[in-house]
Amino acid sequence: MRILFFSQVRDAVGCAEVEWAGCEPMTIETFWERLLQQFPTLTPQRSAVRIARNGAFTQNNEILEPGDEIALIPPVSGG
């Protein structure tokens, strides 16, 4: 699973992406638990960050698969 970080999320974790090799399919809740264990500095941003899976915003009950590209989307501000 490839995980991408943008803007203030990238600043909080200190890198643009990480790879989780050999992980199992997981719920979004499990994903967050594992991610916050690895990057506790993300905790304050969790409530404002949306998850995208393969370029589309996820629904709450979605399952994330090992081959997915997951992106953490902090509040956007284009234009």
Binding site: L4, F6, A52, G55, P74, V76, S77, G78
Partner: protein, 138 residues
């Protein structure tokens, strides 16, 4: 609706819309340019640095435009968003919309901008001062 989308690291030159206008079907051509202001939250700045999740940004912009087009009948929409460092006074986003009537073209531009600011993964990552850009004060 014909949709043209671009993300660019270069200054946006206003496109010539002639090629995207279906002759005889367009009664209104509406353009909008979003320009970087010299103040960000009350503080003078020299530039804004934008970043994007490129593939998703293009996909979401297309989905938004296709959705809006189901109730706002427009012939064409052209969106260019600049990424990277955009100096004050330069264009960060340019939109051109062609439609049979002005009401739909104006509404599409307005609604698209609202949706862009909610759902398109593009960020003003940081504000830059003259010092950040290596410009010395007089």
């Amino acid at each position: 609706m014909r949709i043209t989308l671009e993300l660019t690291a270069h200054a946006i030159a206003r496109p010539d819309p002639a090629g995207s206008l279906a002759k005889g079907q367009i009664g209104a051509w509406v353009e909008f340019a979003g320009v970087v202001r010299g103040l960000e939250n009350g503080t003078p700045i020299a530039a804004l640095e934008y970043e994007a999740y490129d593939t998703m940004a293009l996909r979401v912009m297309r989905e938004i435009l296709e959705g809006l087009a189901t109730r706002l009948a427009c012939e064409s929409a052209w969106v260019i968003h600049r990424i990277g460092v955009v100096p004050v006074g330069e264009t960060a986003i340019w939109i051109g919309v062609g439609a049979a009537h002005r009401e739909t073209a104006l509404a599409l531009v307005a609604e698209f901008m609202n949706r862009l600011k909610q759902d398109v993964p593009i960020w003003k990552h940081r504000a830059l001062t003259d010092a950040d850009l290596g410009v010395s004060s007089p």
